[in-house]
Amino acid sequence: MIKTNKKIPKNIILSLENVSISYGTFEAVRNVFCNFKKGNITSLIGPSGCGKSTVLRSLNRMNDLIPNCSLKGTVLFDGTNIYDKRVDPVEVRRRIGMVFQQPNPFPKSIYENIAFGARINGFTGDMDVLVESSLRKAALWDECKDKLNDSGYSLSGGQQQRLCIARTIAIEPEIILMDEPCSALDPISTLKIEETMHELKKNYTIIIVTHNMQQALRVSDMTAFFNAIEYEDGDGGKVGYLAEFNSTKKIFNSPKEKTTQEYISGKFG
């Protein structure tokens, strides 16, 4: 049975059950349980090395591309464990899109950047319409409608990142994963991308890793705080874990854990 059970509430789109991820013998994150709600923006925050990016990448099997990376536990999406042997990772990535830390447009025209993904996903409709609507949703249309045939690299960093978001939207995924999408950008571009995210929330579920707590506070409904502790065997290595998961409001105003309190008040991280 690839399709499991059971009592996952309908509004939960993605669910981690006892997930541990290792690189070779090094364990990066341990025993994560977490449910992501449909239509929400969820932030993953935490100090460097706590494994939040690792968790994010595991959600659409981008971790497959890293040699030696292995995952234990289940990641349920649409009632299916996406780590089941029979699941095609390419299929997963078509339904769970990803925006990366560094803007990474293809070395093609702006138009082609968006058409590429749609085409390989078997899009048969009017490509011009799709390109325009995707660019509009990513709030990039007005800036680039006159130069759709220019290279994606002719855009500024912030525009490139929005192009990458548009590219992801174009394949109409159910979930969009964003790995620190603004860390390479200036404040104005960051703000624009945050506005874009608010727009996208209407149609998509978004999970975002961010280093910027203000950003988490501004954009997200839910926040997951990851932390890292030293191994019990005390050889100095650290393993990440999910310390607290709650609505953003609660995490920032009345965290239950002491470490969460310390982290959001800037005592470490």
Partner: protein, 297 residues
């Protein structure tokens, strides 16, 4: 108190001067032969160039003054190198793709990379010996012995490591973000490779491959007992299965002839060979330098 002024006679300053001059001399000795060689070939070989050279067959060595032309050798070199490329490029690019895109640094890929380096170090004459044993002496190619086809195969063995290496290294230079971008929108691995990574690495791979072809075009040792030599025009497809001349073997054969006319032909062939190889090299260097400058940050 020691003076802070530079003292010529100080042993370390004399030593420094001495070694500096020594390294200058080394550099001079290193580049002088090249300058001599290239100028000599250009003058000596260039002065033999006539229109007939490109159209005539070479005359068999004898004491007549007219040696004829190098047309069969010129065409032969083109054909043999093309055969070698047809074999080595698909195999090499495919192998390079596997190493760079699919392998995860396991034992197999380490073994193959090791093998590529070892194969690159195999003496070129051994490639000829191998093809001789495998193809020429067995007459496996429709009963033909020495043939242009066998020569091309021998050359392809020499090209293969170069092609694999440049593909492997060219693909590894493509930033992973680009792969993630493509896979992240749900592209299959082969679409990603064919549509995104390979086009991005195209220029560096092409440069390496062209340099490999240029090197192969000048190789002689693998041809002297696989393709052998021929004095006659190449007239049709069937000639692939017979002895075939090449510029390199022509130079070898005619350099050792006691007749001045044949020697001159060897110089003319050298001129053409060196000029084309050097221009390919210089052109690719300029292209590489240009690419480096315009590369995105």
């Amino acid at each position: 108190m020691n003076s802070l002024y530079y003292q010529k006679r100080l042993s370390r300053n004399i030593g420094d001067k001495f070694f500096t001059s020594l390294s200058v001399i080394c550099a001079l000795i290193a580049i002088l032969p090249l300058i001599f060689l290239v100028t000599y070939i250009l003058i000596k070989g260039g002065s033999q160039i006539t229109p007939e050279l490109f159209t005539l067959e070479p005359n068999p060595p004898g004491d007549d003054l007219d040696a004829g032309g190098i047309n069969p050798a010129l065409i032969g070199t083109l054909i043999i190198t093309t055969i070698a490329s047809i074999i080595a490029i698909p195999v090499g690019v495919g192998g390079g793709i596997y190493l760079a895109e699919y392998s995860k640094g396991g034992a197999f890929s380490r073994f193959i990379r090791f093998g590529v380096n070892v194969l690159a170090g195999v003496p070129s004459i051994i490639a000829g010996v191998f093809i001789y044993a495998l193809i020429v002496s067995t007459k496996i190619l429709f009963g033909s012995m020495y043939s242009g086809l066998a020569g091309g195969m021998a050359l392809s063995i020499l090209m293969l490591p170069t092609v694999i290496k440049t593909t492997d290294e060219g693909l590894k230079l493509v930033p992973n973000e680009l792969r993630y971008a493509s896979l992240g929108v749900g592209a299959s691995m082969y679409t990603t490779i064919l549509k995104v990574t390979l086009p991005s690495a195209f220029r560096s791979i092409a440069t390496g491959v062209v340099l490999g072809i240029a090197r192969a075009a000048g190789e002689t040792a693998p041809l002297i007992f696989t393709a052998l030599f021929s004095y006659y025009y190449i007239t049709g497809f069937g000639d692939l299965f017979y002895e075939m001349g090449s510029l390199a073997v022509l130079i070898y054969n005619f350099a050792l002839e006691p007749y001045d006319a044949q020697n001159k032909l060897a110089w003319a062939a050298s001129f053409i060979l060196v000029l084309s190889i050097l221009s390919v090299n210089i052109f690719s260097r300029i292209l590489a330098a240009f690419t480096e400058k315009t590369k995105r940050v």
